[in-house]
C-alpha cells in the first residue's frame, strides 16, 4: 500500500521521534545558535544518527546502505522537522548521495557511497548562484584543461557548504546559460586550492555558505558520470530534495499546530479557554484539514521515488508548492493564536517561523513549483 506507512516504517518513525526528542530537541538548535557553534550541527549527534543507520537508510545494500526507501527516510526527516534538528541528513544524504547514486560511475559509487552511509563523509551540493532557486542558471564553468578540468565561479546558499568534506559543484562545461545542456556535476574536495568558503548566517540558524571557485583544478575522474550530461540525473536529485524538504516542512507545520492546539486548550481569557471560541475553532479546524491534505501529498511523493513513478516531477512540485504554503500559514497561525508570547524568542515558534521562510526558498518557492506543475501537465 502506497499511502499508509507499513509497520516497519511506522516503527522507524516512532523510534526517530523518541530519539530526536531526547537527543536533539528544539533546544539543541537554540544552543548551537546561542553558542555560535562553528560547524552548525553536533558531530556527536550525527555520529549517533549514522549508527542508527539513518545516513544509509535509502542507499542500496551493495553500497553499505539499508535500502529502506524514501518513505522511511521521509518519516525520519518529518520527525526532524518537528525538532528543527540540524544535521547533514538533507545536504549529504538526500542531495549528495543521490547525485552520486544517480549520476556517478560504478567506481565512484563504490568508493564514496559506503563512506556516506557510515557517516564518515559529508557532502554539499553547490548549486544556486542567486537568491531564487534556478537550477538552469549556471554561470560557473568547468573547462577542460590538460587531463582534467578547471572550475571558476561563485555559488551561494550552499546548504552545509561551510562544513561539508566534499562539494558537488554544478558547473557548465558546454551549452548556453541559462540552459540544461552541458551541465556537469564535479566532486571537489573542500580543501582544494582555490576554494574559498564563507559561512552565511541565516535567520533560521541553520547552515549555508557562499563559495568561490578560482581556477580550481580537478581530475577527469572527479566528474560524476559524463561531462555535460548531468541534467536528467540532477533533475531527479532535485526532485528527491524537494520531496524530502517537503517532509521536513510537514513535520514543522504539524509541530506548530500541535503546540497551538495545546495552547488553545489551556489559555484562558474572558473567563473561558480560548479554544472554546468559535472564531479560533474554525481557524484550527481549517488548518487541521489543510495539514491532512499535506500529509497525503508528501507521502504520495515519497512513494513516487520508491516506486520509480514517471510522475515524480509532478508529485515533487506539488509537494513542495503545497508545503511551502502550509508551513508559512501554519507558523503564522501559530504565532497569531499564541498572541504576544508568540513573538518572544523564549517560545520556540519563532524558530519554526524563520525555518519555514528559509525552507520555502530551498529548491523552489511556490511560484516556481506552481509554474512547473502547470508546465509538466502540458499547460
Amino acid at each position: 500500500m502506497a499511502l499508509a506507512l507499513n509497520e516497519e516504517q511506522q516503527l522507524l518513525k516512532d523510534t526517530a521521534r523518541e530519539f530526536l526528542a531526547e537527543h536533539a530537541p528544539v533546544g539543541a538548535l537554540r544552543k548551537l545558535r546561542d553558542e555560535g557553534d562553528e560547524t552548525g550541527y553536533s558531530s556527536a549527534l550525527w555520529q549517533q544518527m549514522s549508527e542508527l543507520g539513518w545516513a544509509g537508510i535509502v542507499l542500496p545494500e551493495a553500497y553499505g546502505g539499508l535500502d529502506f526507501g524514501y518513505q522511511g527516510l521521509g518519516a525520519v526527516i518529518e520527525e526532524s522537522g518537528r525538532t528543527l534538528t540540524a544535521s547533514p541528513l538533507f545536504a549529504s544524504v538526500v542531495l549528495g548521495a543521490s547525485a552520486i547514486e544517480l549520476c556517478g560511475s560504478e567506481a565512484q559509487k563504490t568508493a564514496l557511497l559506503p563512506k556516506i552511509a557510515g557517516g564518515e563523509m559529508t557532502l554539499a551540493l553547490a548549486l544556486e548562484e542567486g537568491p531564487h532557486h534556478n537550477p538552469l542558471n549556471i554561470a560557473t564553468t568547468a573547462e577542460a584543461s590538460g587531463d582534467g578540468f578547471v572550475i571558476n565561479g561563485d555559488k551561494t546558499f550552499v546548504l552545509d557548504g561551510h562544513s561539508a568534506d566534499t562539494l558537488i559543484v554544478v558547473a557548465r562545461s558546454a551549452g548556453n546559460n541559462p540552459g540544461s545542456d552541458g551541465l556537469s556535476l564535479v566532486l571537489v574536495d573542500a580543501d582544494t586550492a582555490g576554494v574559498t568558503r564563507t559561512r552565511m548566517m541565516m535567520a533560521d540558524s541553520r547552515n549555508a555558505a557562499q563559495i568561490n571557485f578560482s581556477n580550481v583544478k580537478v581530475a577527469a575522474d572527479q566528474i560524476l558520470g559524463d561531462a555535460g550530461d548531468a541534467w536528467p540525473a540532477l533533475e531527479k536529485v532535485l526532485d528527491r530534495g524537494r520531496i524530502c524538504m517537503a517532509a521536513e516542512m510537514l513535520g514543522g507545520a504539524l509541530e506548530c499546530f500541535a503546540r497551538t492546539l495545546d495552547y488553545l486548550k489551556e489559555r484562558e481569557q474572558f473567563g473561558a479557554k480560548i479554544g472554546s471560541f468559535q472564531a479560533l475553532q474554525h481557524r484550527a479546524a481549517q488548518l487541521y484539514a489543510d495539514l491532512e491534505l499535506s500529509k497525503s501529498v508528501v507521502i504520495d511523493a515519497l512513494a513516487a521515488i520508491d516506486e520509480g513513478r514517471d510522475d515524480l516531477a509532478v508529485a515533487a512540485s506539488h509537494a513542495k508548492a503545497q508545503l511551502n504554503d502550509i508551513y508559512i500559514h501554519a507558523t503564522n497561525e501559530a504565532v497569531q493564536l499564541h498572541g504576544g508570547i508568540g513573538v518572544t524568542d523564549e517560545l520556540d515558534l519563532g524558530l519554526f517561523m524563520k525555518r519555514a521562510r528559509v525552507a520555502v526558498q530551498i529548491l523552489g518557492d511556490s511560484s516556481y513549483h506552481t509554474n512547473r506543475f502547470a508546465t509538466l501537465n502540458g499547460y
Binding site: 499511502l3 492546539l261 474554525h282 479546524a285 497525503s296 502547470a374 502540458g378
Partner: protein
C-alpha cells in the same frame, strides 16, 4: 495471483463484456436510472445495464448477499469502483436508499427491518428521500419539531420537512421525528420510515437558482407510520441520524461527477479563451496559476481520500481525518466550478436555447445546483464545528 488481483482481472473482463457501449459515456441528468415503484427507462441499454448489475448484487456491491448485495469486501468494492471508473461506466442505479439509508440500516436496523427494506433498495424497487431539515431546523437540526404520537399500533405524524430532495418522485421517506417533547432536544428524537403513498403526505417542489426543483417541502398531516418502522429504538434516533450523516457526507465528499453530466474541459476552455503558445503553455498567466492551484488542491483531496481508505484497511491512523473530507471535497468542487465559469466568460452564463452549447448550458445549471453542496448535509461551518469538537477535542 492474489485473491484481489484475480478479482480485478475477472471484474475487468466482466465489465468489458457486460457494460453496453452507450453506458460508458458521460451522462446527463435525464439519462440516469433512479429507483422507484414507477421506474422510467431512459434507454434500453440503461435497463439492460441496470439488470445485469442488479443480478450480481452490484447495485450495492459491499452489502451482504443475503440482503441483495454483492457481498464484496472493502478492497474488492474499491477495485470494482476503480475498474468502473477506468472503463467510464455509469452508475447503474441512483437512490438515497443505496447511499444513505441502507448503510444506516445495516448498522442500526433490526433483522426484520433489514430483510424488509434492503433487498428492495438493492433491486431498485423503492425510491427513498430524506426528511431531516425543517423550515425552522437547518444547521440546528436537533431542534426539529415534526411530531410522531404513539397510537398503540402505529404513530401519527404531523409537521413539515424541507430540502427533501426529489420527494415528489419518491416512494418512502426516512425521517427524524420528535417522539418525546419533554426530553432534552437530542434525546427525544426517533428515526422513522414512512410510506409516502397516503393522503396524509403532500409534497411541493421548491424552485432553485438552477431553475430546477430538485428540493421539496414535504408536509405530514396526520400521516401514518407503522411501529415496526421505527429504527434504532424509541427516542434514540439521533444516533442513527449521525451515522447516516457520516454516509451522506462521505457521498458528498467524493469529488466525482458521475450522474451529473459531462464536465467541460477546463484547460481547453482556457486555451480557447486566451490562447497558448507552441508548447501548449497558456498565455494568460493569472488563469494558468489559478488552474494549477485548483488542480493541485483537487489532487490533494483525491490523494487524501485514497490515503484514509488505505489507513482504514490497514487499521492505522485515528480515522478522525475523515471528518474533514465533506468540507474539503465540496469546497474544492465549487472552486473548480467557479473557475470554469470564469474561463467560459459570458458564454458560461447562457440560460437556455440557441446559440448556446447545450453541454455548457448543462454545466451552468449544474454549477448553480452545486452551490448547495457546501450547505446540504451540514454546512462547511457545521463541519468545522464538528472537526473542532471531535477531531481536535477543543473545549466546548
Amino acid at each position: 495471483m492474489s485473491k484481489h488481483e484475480t478479482f480485478r482481472q475477472e471484474t475487468r473482463e466482466w465489465l468489458a463484456q457486460n457494460c453496453p457501449q452507450s453506458m460508458r459515456t458521460p451522462v446527463a441528468p435525464e439519462g440516469l436510472v433512479w429507483s422507484g415503484r414507477n421506474k422510467t427507462w431512459p434507454s434500453a441499454d440503461a435497463k439492460l445495464w441496470f439488470e445485469r448489475m442488479r443480478d450480481r448484487g452490484w447495485t450495492v456491491p459491499d452489502w451482504p448477499a443475503e440482503y441483495g448485495g454483492g457481498g464484496l469486501d472493502p478492497v474488492q468494492s474499491d477495485i470494482l469502483k476503480q475498474e468502473m471508473k477506468q472503463l467510464g461506466c455509469r452508475a447503474p442505479l441512483m437512490d438515497l436508499g443505496i447511499w444513505m439509508l441502507g448503510p444506516a440500516l445495516l448498522e442500526h436496523g433490526s433483522e426484520a427491518q433489514k430483510k424488509e427494506h434492503l433487498p428492495k433498495i438493492a433491486r431498485g424497487e423503492i425510491r427513498w428521500c430524506q426528511g431531516y431539515s425543517e423550515p425552522n431546523a437547518g444547521s440546528d437540526l436537533a431542534s426539529l419539531q415534526t411530531r410522531a404520537v404513539d397510537q398503540g399500533d402505529h404513530y401519527l405524524v404531523n409537521g413539515a420537512k424541507i430540502w427533501t430532495t426529489f420527494a415528489h418522485l419518491c416512494d418512502w421517506i426516512f425521517c427524524l421525528v420528535r417522539t418525546d417533547p419533554g426530553a432534552s432536544k437530542h434525546n427525544g428524537i426517533s428515526f422513522l420510515l414512512i410510506d409516502m403513498e397516503q393522503p396524509g403526505v403532500s409534497v411541493s417542489p421548491i424552485p432553485l437558482i438552477s431553475g430546477e426543483s430538485e428540493f421539496c417541502e414535504t408536509h405530514f398531516d396526520n400521516a401514518r407510520a407503522e411501529k415496526h418502522n421505527l429504527v434504532g429504538g424509541l427516542n434514540r434516533g439521533w444516533t442513527v441520524a449521525k451515522s447516516l450523516l457520516i454516509h451522506e457526507r462521505k457521498m458528498m465528499s467524493a469529488s466525482n461527477d458521475s450522474g451529473r453530466g459531462a464536465q467541460p474541459d477546463m484547460i481547453g476552455a482556457a486555451r480557447r479563451a486566451f490562447g497558448s503558445d507552441a508548447a501548449g503553455k497558456l498565455l494568460d498567466a493569472n488563469y494558468r496559476r489559478r488552474i494549477a492551484s485548483h488542480k493541485m488542491r483537487s489532487r490533494a483531496v483525491a490523494l487524501t481520500g485514497k490515503r484514509l481508505f488505505e489507513e482504514q484497511i490497514a487499521g492505522s491512523g485515528d480515522g478522525k481525518a475523515g471528518l474533514t473530507m465533506k468540507m474539503l471535497g465540496t469546497e474544492e468542487k465549487l472552486r473548480g466550478d467557479e473557475l470554469l465559469i470564469a474561463l467560459l466568460g459570458s458564454a458560461g452564463l447562457g440560460w437556455e436555447g440557441e446559440p448556446f452549447d447545450p453541454e455548457v448550458l448543462a454545466f451552468t445549471r449544474n454549477w448553480l445546483f452545486n452551490k448547495a453542496l457546501t450547505i446540504a448535509g451540514g454546512t462547511s461551518e457545521v463541519q468545522r464545528n464538528v472537526i473542532a469538537k471531535r477531531a481536535l477535542e477543543l473545549p466546548q
